[in-house]
Each structure stands twice: as structure tokens, then as C-alpha cells.
Symmetry: C2
Subunit: 167 residues, 2 copies
């Protein structure tokens, strides 16, 4: 209770009722100290209060709590930032992969086309060939495709409609 008036005024609340906001100067000092050492010992905390006149009116317990909350906040923010960063990275990588995929698709198309052309040439001009078959020459276990239905639509699985918002 104790309504504590309200806005306006520099009321030195003093009375340890509860809930005070530290001044910007105090925050600045605390942040600096936190940057030096995010997890000071109890002893170290007492030193800080003595060394820093700005913090002299803050109780040791409050200092302790402040560092606790500060660590917690940092952790949360770091995790959020990390997720955002990973997202950006993955999005960027996706873009690259899509472009590369596109490029390769085009390349395959062209190669298939040229291949068909050459195949025709070979067929027409060189019937007496030493080739064992008119089909695929090298078969390294994969891609046993008959070479005739490739010209387009070389996509394998279905990742067509991946909404995927920009984070």
C-alpha cells in the first residue's frame, strides 16, 4: 500500500517500500560493471558499492538481484538474437541454393538438348560404330534415366509451395 503519490517530483522515496527505478547514471555504472564481470561474488559486490558512490544508496541485496536479472535478460536476448541470426543465414543459404538449383536446371536442359543433337548426329552419320549401345554410355549406378524425357521438369520431390516468410 502507500500510494506514493505518483508522477512528478523527485521524491526521494527512501522508504524502502519497494520497486524503485534506478537512475540512468546508476544503470550506466551497473552496466559497465556488468560488462567487466557479469557474475561478481558477494564480496566483490560489496566492493562495488563502496567504490562507486553512485551506487551507495542501493542495498547489497538489490545489487545482487540486479545482476541476476541482468544475466537473465542477456540470456533471453542472446537466444532470440541467435535464432534470428540462424534464420537469416538459412534464408540466405536457401536463396543461394535456389539460384544454384535454377542454374543447374538450365544447364541440364541445355546439355540434354545438345546431347540429343549429338546423338542424332552420331546416329545419322556413323552407323558403323563401336559403341555397345545407343543408350547411356556411362552408368555410375545413379541416374539411369532414358535420356528422352528430361528436357524439362527435372524436379524430383515436391518442394513447390514452401511459403517461407522472410523471417
Amino acid at each position: 500500500m502507500i500510494a506514493v503519490t505518483s508522477c512528478e517530483g523527485d521524491m526521494e522515496i527512501v522508504d524502502q517500500g519497494k520497486y524503485v527505478r534506478y537512475t540512468p547514471e546508476q544503470i550506466e555504472a551497473l552496466e559497465r560493471l556488468y560488462h567487466e564481470c557479469p557474475k561478481p561474488s558477494s564480496l566483490r559486490r560489496q566492493q562495488l558499492i563502496r567504490e562507486c558512490p553512485i551506487l551507495s544508496n542501493i542495498e547489497p541485496k538489490q545489487i545482487k538481484v540486479w545482476f541476476q536479472n541482468r544475466r537473465c535478460r542477456e540470456k533471453q536476448r542472446k537466444e532470440a538474437a541467435r535464432l534470428q541470426a540462424v534464420n537469416r543465414k538459412l534464408t540466405a543459404m536457401n536463396k543461394l541454393l535456389m539460384e544454384e538449383n535454377d542454374r543447374l536446371q538450365k544447364q541440364v536442359s541445355q546439355l540434354v538438348y545438345e546431347n540429343g543433337y549429338f546423338r542424332k548426329q552420331t546416329q545419322n552419320a556413323a552407323l558403323p560404330t563401336t559403341n555397345t549401345s545407343c543408350e547411356s554410355v556411362v552408368t555410375n549406378g545413379q541416374n539411369h534415366l532414358p535420356m528422352q524425357h528430361l528436357p524439362r521438369d527435372a524436379s524430383p520431390a515436391g518442394f513447390v509451395n514452401f511459403s517461407f516468410s522472410p523471417v
Copy 2:
């Protein structure tokens, strides 16, 4: 003021010095009400207190604050979950794209190989050809590659060392 004893016991604190944890029953009731309406009006909140005897010892202001905090928590959790979901989606998509890329790379390799073979056949067996050039036949503005340095390393940009942790 008002130390409020501490742990243990079912102390009916009553005196609203500060900081009380609501009982599981109260939480349950509040959660249920929240599920029905996450943002009740001031009037509605007063109704709730009257209707629900479990909440009768909680002040209107506290109810208001509870709903406020509850919304805040939900928001944070939803955002975190969303990021996680997007991350999973992107990671899965990346995997698919990588596989597809790999497949296309292999396909290009094979096609280039076959192409070379056919090209050689054509050259050897059919010198008197109507072909205008021994180089690329179709040139659709893109992929003006000389066809000789493709066999491997068809990667364009540098996405080699993308650490990319699994979320």
C-alpha cells in the same frame, strides 16, 4: 513493510503487502477465463471476481495485471515457437535443396561426359558435317560455357563453409 513470513504454511496473507503467489486453483481459474477471453474489459473483470469465489480475495487491479502479464507471456512464447518452426522449415528445405543440388551436379557431370563422348564420335566419324562449328550448338544467351572445364566444380559462389547449427 510486512515481512510476510515466508515459505511453508498456508498463511492467508490477506494483507496485500506485496508479492503473493496465486494458488494453483486460482491459476487454473484464471487460465480458464483467459482461454475464454484473453482481454476482458474492466467491467468484465469485476464480474469475474464476483462470479468466481476462488478469485474473490484478489483485487481488481491484480486481476488486471495478471491478464496483462499473461498476454505478455503468451506473446513471447508464441514468437519463440514461431521462430523455431520457421527454423525447422528452413532447415528441412535446405536439406532438400542440397540433395537436389547434389543430384543435379551428378546429372550435369554425366551429361557432360556423354556429351564429350558424342562430340568425339561426331568429330571422328562425320567430318563432312553441316554443323557450323565444333563448339556449342545452341546458345540461348546463357551458359556460354566452353564445355571443357565443367567436369567438376560447377559450384558458382562460395557457400562452402556454412557452419549452420541444427537450430
